[in-house]
Symmetry: D2
Subunit: 272 residues, 4 copies
């Protein structure tokens, strides 16, 4: 594998030490599991405030919420845009949470980066190299989600575009790949965690919500990800999943999220 050459800044040959990305006292890639949680889409100020309150109480430290939504169909809900970003930031500030949201286009970068702490690149844009190069010029962490059919090397080369352009704060996210099995939305590739940890020094987050697409599978897969050594989790949580404007079937309700967080408290017991 030519990872050392084609993805040299991302590879372990560049750094023996794991990269820790610190944001206002939250370390991503350190010894403590980082939980990012929140709704698929920001829907209203009340909705994001309610959910922020719930996830903060259970120990999440980063609030997620989409404002620009990459939907397969143009007729699906496309997100609230800048208003969504405002509501997200307000809810984050009120409940002491960092924020993360997705950027879909290079002309949205400064807008999104202005509101959130971490800029997310979705799986469909993992190889949008123009976008990646421009994200390499901002001074903020970027979370890069693995594409549906991206190999580990593809993912690291995509990260390399950001690193090479000058931004060393890159977080990787495994969120499921496409396989012949269609019972779930995707096949969550838990082995990506130890494999990426051997190939790169960058932190590795797992998203079992998109990785399975079914709320009842989120908790066992979250525990599996932690047991395999994930640095963090991204979990979709909604106060009323059945009325969510997008992806409600994969969101945990407040009680399910509380149960999951309790089972994860003692992370070291699983990852010895």
């Amino acid at each position: 594998m030519a990872i050392d050459k084609e993805c040299k800044l991302a590879s372990r040959s560049h750094s023996d030490e794991r990269t820790i990305i610190s944001i206002n006292g939250v370390d991503i890639g350190g010894s403590k599991l980082v939980v990012m949680a929140g709704p698929c889409s920001v829907e209203s100020p009340q909705q994001i405030d309610t959910i922020a309150s719930i996830v903060a109480k259970q120990g999440a430290v980063i609030l997620r919420g989409g404002a620009f939504k990459p939907r397969t169909s143009p007729y699906s809900f496309q997100g609230l845009g800048e208003n969504g970003l405002k509501y997200l930031r307000n809810a984050g500030e009120k409940h002491g949470l960092l924020t993360i949201s997705e950027v879909m286009d290079s002309d949205q970068i400064s807008l999104v980066a202005n509101y959130v702490d971490i800029v997310q690149v979705g799986s469909r844009n993992m190889q949008n190299f123009s976008l990646l190069k421009k994200l390499g010029r901002i001074n903020q962490p970027v979370m890069l989600k693995r594409g549906h059919a991206a190999t580990y090397q593809d993912l690291l080369c995509a990260a390399e575009y950001i690193l090479d352009a000058g931004n060393s704060q890159v977080i990787l996210c495994e969120r499921g790949i496409r396989t012949f099995e269609t019972y779930c939305r995707n096949t969550l590739d838990i082995a990506a965690v130890p494999i990426l940890h051997e190939l790169t020094h960058l932190p590795v987050i797992v998203d079992p919500s998109h990785g399975t697409g079914l709320s009842r599978l989120v908790s066992p897969m979250a525990r599996a990800a932690v047991a395999a050594g994930a640095d963090g989790l991204m979990i979709e949580v909604h106060s009323e999943p059945s009325s969510a404007l997008s992806d409600g079937q994969q969101a945990l309700d407040p009680e399910q999220f509380a149960t999951l967080m309790h089972s994860l408290i003692n992370r070291s017991s699983c990852s010895v």
Copy 2:
């Protein structure tokens, strides 16, 4: 399948008649096979002129050539940018060929559209929905390549973003999908041709160069695509494949291209 609803403008329910896209006397989607040919990347004025001369002589009607290149690694040749577009247009005009080139970012649209007849969206950007929406507002044909792990419905929904934004001139391109088989770069899904023809009224082009990644497989797969009913082919041709700056291993040399074109002359003999 919800294609009639989620991709209504792209679906057969919207139009019983096949869409024919006419550009300066060239019909894409009509009764005549359309061949797009040229190098992976425009490398110099001389290179693209030489190749244009070769492909025009053999019956190609559209000249391809990348100026902005989506390369997996940031350290690979990234294309000549605007100069590449100029050289491409000059060569096309000189040899009586239409031109096609890829746009990688929404801020390149007006530049690329200014130089070429058909704007191409690569497989890695098939679900770059911001880009698609903006391409829906230009008055030029767009060729949309299928993503590595995109279903037929995903492809049609991506086309729908362009159609719904007002541009009805969309061409689809099958270029291989990712499977467990790694002998080739991709698995060229020839069945996409008759399947897309039953699902949509849009023209379907096949790219056996990316679809196989190996020049010796390009001709048999090109013939297979035509036999399955493809409206056109996109073929990589280089005057000296071994010295190409990108993807030389999948380019036909002038003699191979001539042989292929001769075998395709009588299209009807295969597609009865």
Copy 3:
């Protein structure tokens, strides 16, 4: 690739010349396209006789029909067993057709081989190595179908088990692989034809019926297979597809089969 070593008898390094398997004047792997046709399952003496008459009239030279059926569910029709083989042979003899049928277990080999000209190994048994070794000891041609997730090398190594045990009459069959795309039953990998022809001297047959699972796609994919250089086709034909006991949705009716055969008459026009 270690094909020359691990599959040495199957590989081109063992033989530069294509293997031609001759059975009663029918050459498989020669210059003439060989068409195997018939129902998924033998259902009755009348059914197989009617279908044999139809396919013989249109130019098929080998009659297919299952007597032992590998069905995903134990509650689906499992075939007529030895009676099915008898009816198949009688119909073949009456209409001047060779016969092929599947063996599912090593203890059925002598029974099946006694009735048919070519013994078929289905995709689910492609790596049933005990069965393959025993088929290496019979003096009859064996057609080996590619497994759902078998690489070209896996297929050749499976053939090697038969060749190494002493039976040189092996025919390969591409019948579709499993991918993320579920519109069709399988993704028919047409590139397998030229690729297997470069890796091995054995004949290559394509089965577009299983390869697509949908009768309306069988003819375009059959033509594509021929255009790519296939040595033969295996086509499911039923006198009344809608009342077939198995796989009726992928069977051609007599008229569709006649139309397909007419379009294939002049094979050379496509495969120049």
Copy 4:
């Protein structure tokens, strides 16, 4: 999904209670994690005795070891046959371990069943329906490994063949599926654990050795499987992995196995 109909005996509709398979005081599918461990192949009486001693000491309760080996190439080591079974049973008896070994052909069933406690069906034979039917008539537990491209429904329908023929003692085993990612031998589908637990009452074992093919990934993936709720693990262990006759690169050495077992002792801490 038609699981309730096509795989009715395997489905949860047949039994609300989880099936526990008890063999000489070992419960598979009960509250305690069951570890099966041993070499890929039985190589000699000394080798299997040494390894049995090691794995028994660390808490494994079932000794694995292949005597009939399904190897991709006919020129690879094919196993010791009946002698291998003898050595396996002797080592198991001496060290107080149950035994499991693979059957490759229906004519080996009585031989294998005579020596071992659990008869294993390998992934390549998962849809060898003749073999499955005959295993339905023995009075011993059968462990059925998921095929490389088998859906959950395919796996349950294969189990149904055994159950329907009269043998209710079926154990399922997830061992990785084939995907586009080739860094590992397979993609271990950890989600299969909670999904199979919702679809069926049968116990679910995970094999991270075949599921990854790389010894350094076995322990994190074993922990992930347990965290997701697996009823047991099958782990390849060799006293000297580098000199193993088969699959040495995926075997744990004694120290690695000891470390893994210590990390698994307190199962409940992960699977709450």
